[in-house]
């Protein structure tokens, strides 16, 4: 195993490349590439990579980047791309189309604030804007988590029981531009882990079909139900993929979520992406001080693992959700999902904290303050803005 000190973007670029290369004896790999900070290094990495059977197309927009991926996937290739922020917003129409076509495209979303006004720092409003698209979504806390999750994403997305595209998110700059030691997956192991990509409904001249034409309400209902059913199969398929991953790579990535110290906890904090790492430090230190605190790292966002949340929270009295995103007029988006998940647990109080929006630095001190606040509350209120940047 090659342990390397690399940035999150390099780690993602490498992993997409070896995954694409792993399809060289099948129908190859295709990528539509368009730059945007903080994702750009990923597509630069892919452009420079020498695929045995692959092409990285330098397109004129994210809308076309996804369109090239769709064309590639409709022709049966493994398809990858990456984007951020306004790039994802611009791509949106084709993001939905890719899912409705049931194409197992894998995209890296490097989370960045939407604008204007322009702000390149981390905020999850971009990928979460796409929460209603027929895509799997995974949020990753570290470079290793990122790399492993990308490989899992291919496995699950391309599984014949799923056939949906998958998005793997990381924090802009905090993860994308910092370096960490990573076990970068070697080609030979990835070749073993990833079967050839098979798009069963790909366009072929010997069996002509029209894909994406007109449908009536009845067929559309079936189509949407099929997508929901596929989403419901993800936990099972993901669990299988993780077991095989462990056999091949010797480590076990998190799946739907990671519940830590939750069994006896009085309060549980929920966080995603790199904030989960900061939170872990805070929880460990308060545990050492004897406080019954637990945490959940939210990893799989689509499908949203409601049952897993329900059982991880159990009878815990207080849950605090850390949201680095904001749905104006409502609140944090993870919070909405978690409240829905806990709808049958009326004794659990769920409080939302909007924290680190627009890239404000979320330090351990801030998380300590949030823990204190949560402990002091007996009743939840509207989402609390925890301003960090103006301090």
């Amino acid at each position: 195993m090659a342990r390397k000190l690399v940035s999150g973007n390099q780690a993602a670029g490498h992993t997409l490349a070896v995954a694409g290369e792993a399809n060289r004896e099948a129908r190859g790999c295709i990528c539509g590439a368009y730059p945007i900070t903080p994702q750009t290094e990923i597509i630069e990495f892919l452009r420079a990579y020498e695929f045995t059977k692959g092409r990285v197309v330098p397109v004129e927009s994210e809308h076309s980047a996804m369109a090239v991926c769709m064309g590639g996937s409709l022709a049966g290739a493994r398809s990858v791309t990456a984007s951020s922020s306004n790039g994802l917003a611009y791509m949106t129409e084709n993001v939905f189309a890719a899912g409705y076509y049931r194409l197992p495209i894998v995209m890296i979303a490097v989370n960045r604030t939407l604008g204007p006004p322009w702000n390149i720092w981390v905020d999850q409003g971009d990928s979460l804007m796409l929460r209603d698209a027929p895509w799997l979504q995974f949020y990753t806390e570290s470079h290793q988590d990122l790399v492993d999750t990308i490989l899992l994403a291919f496995r699950v997305a391309e599984d014949p029981r799923i056939l949906l595209p998958a998005m793997v998110a990381m924090d802009g700059f905090v993860t994308s531009h910092t370096q960490m030691g990573v076990d970068l997956p070697e080609q030979e192991l990835v070749d073993r882990f990833l079967p050839h990509c098979i798009v069963p409904h790909r366009l072929r001249s010997d069996h002509p079909t029209t894909i994406g034409g007109l449908t009536w309400p009845k067929e559309t209902e079936h189509h949407r139900i099929e997508i929901q059913r596929a989403m419901e199969r993800v936990p099972e398929v993901l669990a299988e993929a993780i077991s095989e991953f462990e056999e091949i790579f010797g480590r076990r990535p998190h799946g739907l979520l990671s519940a830590e110290h939750t069994e006896d906890a009085d309060v549980i904090l929920v966080a995603s992406n790199s904030m989960a790492r900061t939170l872990r430090g805070v929880v460990e230190s308060r545990r050492e001080a004897g406080e019954k605190i637990g945490m959940i790292k939210a990893k799989t966002f689509r499908p949203f693992p409601r049952e897993a949340f329900e059982s991880a929270v159990g009878k815990t009295a207080k849950v605090g959700v850390l949201d680095r995103n904001h749905s104006p007029g409502s609140g944090g988006i993870f919070w909405q999902e978690i409240v829905t998940s806990l709808r049958n647990q009326p004794d659990t109080m769920v409080q939302d904290y909007l924290v680190g929006l627009g890239g404000g630095d979320v330090t351990p001190e801030i998380l300590h303050e949030i823990v204190d606040d949560l402990i002091s509350r007996s009743k939840s209120v509207e989402p609390v803005w925890k301003e960090v940047a103006s301090r």
Binding site: G28, A67, L74, P208, T209, G212, E219, H222, E226
Partner: protein, 305 residues
Amino acid sequence: MNVVPLNMNANCDTTCDPVLRAGNTNCAGCGMSIGLQWFSEVFRDSKPILAIPACCGIVTAGAFPTSAYSVPIAATTFASAAAVATGLRSVALMNTEENVTVCWAGDGGTYDIGLATLSAAAERNEDIIYICYDNEIYGNTGGQRSSATPEGVVTSTTTSGKSERKKDIMAIMAAHHIPYAATLSVAHREDFIRKLEIAKKTKGFRFLLMLSPCPTGWKSEPEDGVDLIRYAVRCGLFPLYEVYDGDRYRINVERDQTSIEEYITRQRRYTKGSILAEELTQLIDARWQKLKRIVRAFPADDNKV
């Protein structure tokens, strides 16, 4: 519950001949129907795969689970045909597959919303044949203006006649230095077929512009379509010409004494008096002078092309 395949693939049970079969939903007299028949003649053995954006060209397939098309079709988002085709063609090439990737798009998907995608695919010189059937209107959404709608024409969003001029998409495509660009007329079968043959032989990006009679949008009689296009070519409104590599031009049919009146009086989209025949004739004269100057300066060598 009926078993619906996992994906919205509509099936057809015969293979490529013709590409667009009976039972399609094109209006009677639609230029697309002729264009696709002739396309079938030239490409029947070439395994064409079509990327079709939102437009009448995809609606005509009919509703799932059947399709009037006998070849593989990717129904793409409105702006994306040339990019989806890029992906399809790239994978075919890397797998050394013998097939032809074609975009079949309306003027909305070509001149307007899809222009950036088209331009980028042309600039990359993708190995694609892009055919625009230009009915000079958004037909599918009920007849609104596009930037291909000519001056004077009444549409549902230019109710007293369009005041802007039609965009010169051929000049735009020629400016991309693509190997081949040509205009097609459904009234000039030999020329049409010959150009398809050239497109078939050529590698790289090929752009074909077909003026497509649209009785519904043009408010003309279905049986008049071919005559209308003949008048358009003869009076000089729609010159038939070719451009090689963006810099070698050839006019295929010279204009004659046919009056523009023949053309405009048989379409009610022109008959609100928003543009006079004299004004149109002046515009045509000016355009021809320009085209002639270009052809004289940059002729296609007949021995070479």
